[in-house]
């Protein structure tokens, strides 16, 4: 009995993110008040900066909930952004968007086929495709950065606003809403959870677990594609480095956000707050004047704590 003293039905793993988020928010609000942490501008910046990571996190919640893993979404982001940027040089916006999201989706589908139908372990498959597509992103453009000069694209996927709400905020809200809906209110979401929870039980209940595995990895590729487009829109350029440094942040956001590493349980809203927490930490640690290496150390420690909480709750 590891739950003595905790009310029945209370889910530590899913609640810890909200406690953690508001504690750290309050902490920074007081300690960094004079450094401008609480200004609308700074807070908006945090949301804008975390938008691509939040969207990647949504895809990853599905993958981990289904009992699989994806390490390759970082290079899928880069390939998607580059594909969109290259296509946008000669074609209208919509074609560029399709190219970007299509590239990410195809990478996800490749992972999906290898994992679901060739039955290779997703951790190793996506480690390999991470390297493969990081290499392709580099060779696609000879390490150059590709500018994006399509104004409607950079407006809709970057610096634009709708009724004074930044477009990146709108994309984040849309993606979280659709993701949450899919996760909690559709048969697909229920099958994802069942597959990650007990694949044998899911299978004897008639759930096509191979199809679920294929679809979650494909979906994760698609969210990486959208994240790539948002990067290209915000930075008005695409480069092979996009998404690369998000790997740890996104995994941390998902795990801190209450998604169980073993599968079968998770939260899209939790991943949103996890991602915002990571962005806030980044922002706060910079305002505190920590060096890049110190920031990495602190973030690494946060992930360790998150994993410890996650495993503690699933081990009884």
């Amino acid at each position: 009995m590891s739950r003595i003293g905790v009310p029945k039905g209370f889910d530590l793993q899913k609640s810890v993110i909200y406690v953690g988020f508001f504690t750290i928010f309050l902490f920074f609000s007081f300690t960094l008040h004079d450094d401008g942490f609480l200004t609308t501008r700074n807070l908006t910046n945090i949301v804008l900066q975390t938008a691509p990571a939040t969207i990647m996190a949504i895809g990853l919640v599905f993958v981990i909930s289904a009992g699989e893993f994806d390490l390759s979404f970082g290079s899928a982001v880069a390939v998607s952004a580059l594909a969109a940027a290259v296509v946008l040089q000669d074609y209208p916006m919509l074609v560029g968007v399709l190219a970007g999201i299509g590239a990410g989706t195809l990478i996800g589908a490749l992972n999906g086929v290898l994992v679901a139908y060739l039955r290779l372990p997703s951790f190793l498959v996506t480690l390999a495709t991470l390297g493969l597509f990081a290499g392709i992103a580099r060779s696609m453009t000879n390490l150059r950065s590709i500018p994006v000069i399509n104004d409607s694209f950079t407006g809709i996927f970057g610096s634009g606003k709708l009724a004074s709400v930044p477009s990146l905020v709108i994309w984040t809200i849309l993606a979280v809403a659709v993701g949450h809906f899919l996760y909690w209110h559709t048969r697909f979401g229920a099958h994802v959870l069942a597959t990650g929870d007990n694949p044998r039980a899911a299978q004897v209940a008639g759930i096509r677990i191979e199809r679920v595995r294929f679809l979650v990895l494909t979906l994760c590729g698609a969210t990486a594609g959208l994240a790539g487009i948002l990067y290209a829109g915000r930075l008005q350029a695409a480069k092979y480095t996009l998404g690369e440094s998000d790997l740890m942040t996104v995994i941390a956001a998902v795990i801190v956000g209450g998604t169980a590493l073993k599968g079968g349980k998770g939260s899209i809203i939790g991943a949103l707050f996890g991602s915002l927490l990571m962005g806030m930490l980044n922002n706060g640690l910079i305002l505190m004047g920590l060096s890049v290496s110190d920031q990495m150390i602190v973030r690494g420690l946060i992930i360790l704590i998150a994993v410890a909480v996650s495993l503690r709750d699933t081990s009884h």
């Binding site: 029945k8 909690w184 559709t186 959870l193 069942a194 899911a202 004897v204």
Partner: protein, 246 residues
């Protein structure tokens, strides 16, 4: 359709796994509202027979008839769609999901046109079912892993009860349960009879077999040794049939 046709009729069932002969010439009829116990030593072929009837394994030869018509199951899903439900020994439940999602696992109720999960209706139907069967759980929203072994098996049997229209197969359903929990599970199994379902149960517990069953089918090393009316036999006779020692 006449009601005296057996719900399930097995004729000359044989199953080999490579060189291993797991089942050899088993023939058995089950009527509606009848509980038949399948007994035998470890490795006698009981689980294999259950898996054949549930569509997991295909027999090497022999026929399966449901309500008089021959059927061939291509998978567990095809057996399920014909009204056959299985309660597994090791509980095929998704531990981190709530009771009501387990009850509807793989057969979730949805609302058209977007096919959204109808969670409130699944909760309501689950609630009605657990009340009717008197399965005592804290709530239909409880997570399976927060339940006791008996409550879990109660959920598994309730699920079979809800979905079966003809036949329920149980493979050692109480092997992992305590005394009180076993008594409760036996009550649930007897209630399947009242629903006019045919029941085939594997059990190692002869007291239980004599409490529950109408007839007993004995297997030894894949061979069908005999079928006895429970009321007209004794534990001694069944034990000697199981062991082959008089």
């Amino acid at each position: 359709m006449t009601s005296d046709l057996p719900v399930l009729s097995l004729k000359g069932i044989r199953k080999t796994f490579g060189a291993i002969l797991a089942i050899q010439d088993v023939s058995l009829d089950l009527g509606a509202g009848e509980i038949v116990a399948l007994v035998g030593d470890n490795g006698a072929g009981k689980s294999t027979l259950i898996k054949i009837v549930s569509g997991v394994h295909r027999p090497t030869s022999g026929q399966i008839h449901l309500d008089g018509s021959a059927v061939v199951f291509s998978s567990a899903s095809s057996a399920r769609s014909l009204g056959i439900e299985v309660v597994y020994q090791d509980l095929a439940l998704a531990d981190q999901q709530p009771v009501y999602m387990n009850l509807f696992l793989g057969r979730e109720l949805t609302i058209p046109p977007l096919a959204l999960l109808n969670k409130s209706r699944m909760r309501k139907e689950t609630q009605e079912l657990v009340e009717e069967l008197d399965v005592r759980i804290p709530s239909v929203r409880s997570t399976i892993r927060d339940l006791s072994g008996g409550q879990r098996q109660g959920v598994a049997i309730a699920r079979a009860t809800h979905w079966a229209s003809k036949l329920v197969l149980l493979d050692e359903p109480t092997a992992a349960l305590g005394v009180a929990e076993t008594a409760k599970a036996e009550e649930l199994i007897l209630s399947l009879k009242d629903r006019n379902l045919a029941v085939l149960i594997v059990s190692h517990n002869l007291d239980q077999v004599f409490r529950l069953s109408d007839r007993i089918c004995v297997l030894r090393r894949g061979r069908q040794i005999g079928v006895r009316e429970t009321a007209a036999t004794s534990k001694n006779e069944i034990v000697s049939m199981i062991t082959g020692v008089d």
